[in-house]
Amino acid sequence: MMHLGPHAAFIVTAYAAAIAIVAGLVAWIVLDQRHLARMLEEFEARGISRRSGRADGEKG
């Protein structure tokens, strides 16, 4: 077991804070990605596509 000495609480809190900040960032990006992907799917399901998307489709 690692011995952190008399200031263990500060060390553990610092690492916990760093983990919480990184976890928050990752969660925000993942949830944002899912939300945006769902919105894009909904638009496409309703037949709405971007002009560039339509142009690509017309070319194809």
């Binding site: 690692m2 011995h3 952190l4 000495g5 008399p6 200031h7 263990a8 500060f10 060390i11 809190t13 610092a14 690492y15 804070a17 760093a18 900040i21 990184v22 928050g24 960032l25 990752v26 925000w28 990006i29 944002d32 990605q33 945006l36 992907a37 919105m39 894009l40 638009f43 309703r46 709405i48 596509s49 971007r50 002009r51």
Partner: protein, 244 residues
């Protein structure tokens, strides 16, 4: 592949989609190696085990500064070359850079209390990093305030370049003024003053943090491209005769 080819958002999404799993794996691997080394790193002869806070505090500080430098390069890309992905990169980096700067401030305070006897002091290094954090919040607020992405990008780019003045102030604050914060001990002329037993884990953690930043920034850029697609679809829907 050239930067011009990557300028196409669809092309960027395809390339970044392939790169992200590899970057994520490299990030996890680098953190695993770094944490393993931290576990066996010796205590400092003066600071004891609190030196372990350095392994997250210093990389977080570097990445806070790196984020602003990345945003500054993106700002030049927006204002000078009008690269279509430059403002996407800049916007994506702001929350990530702010998070790393916050991490630097929080871990620094927690390191300062046992070593200096205080969580905070208004010295040049601490204050200039706090200013960096506030500037990040300012750029994020600006992006959220202006609805049109093109106008928001220009305003944010100008604010970013003006704010870049703070970066050398942060770097040299410990040399220009008497500060409670210790002087530069890693990136300095004449070499590092840190023993290799502590320096090596620090460098590994810095690599891990950098990989984490790049991974998150790439993912956030992909989100921003999707957000703009959603926005254009909403505008198309609003402009359609049926409104549906």
């Amino acid at each position: 592949m050239s930067l011009i080819e990557l300028a196409n958002p669809s092309r960027f999404l395809a390339v970044s989609g392939r790169a992200l799993p590899w970057l994520s794996a490299a990030t996890v691997l680098a953190f695993a190696v770094g944490i393993f080394q931290i576990y066996f790193a010796p205590d400092d002869y003066q600071q004891g085990a609190t030196v372990k806070i350095m392994f997250i505090h210093v990389p977080a500080a570097w990445l806070g500064i790196f984020g602003w430098l990345l945003m500054s390069a993106a700002a030049l890309g927006t204002l000078v070359w009008r690269h279509p992905l430059a403002d996407v990169a800049g916007k994506a980096a702001a929350p990530i850079g702010s998070a790393f700067t916050l991490m630097c401030l929080v871990t620094g305070s927690l390191w300062g209390r046992p070593m200096w006897g205080t969580y905070w002091v208004w010295d040049a290094r601490l204050t200039s990093v706090l200013v960096l954090f506030l500037m990040y919040l300012g750029v994020i607020a600006l992006w959220r305030t202006i609805e049109d992405p093109t106008q928001a990008a220009r305003a944010a780019a100008i604010l970013t370049l003006v704010g870049a003045i703070n970066i050398p102030i942060i770097k040299f604050s410990v040399d220009w003024w008497n500060t409670l914060h210790q002087p530069t001990s890693v990136l300095r002329l004449g070499g590092s003053t840190i023993h290799p037993a502590i320096l090596v884990p620090l460098i590994v953690m810095a690599i891990a943090f950098t990989l984490l930043f790049l991974t998150l920034n790439l993912a956030a850029m992909r989100n921003e491209i999707m957000r703009r697609r959603v926005r254009s679809m909403m505008m198309l829907q609003a402009a359609s005769p049926a409104g549906s």
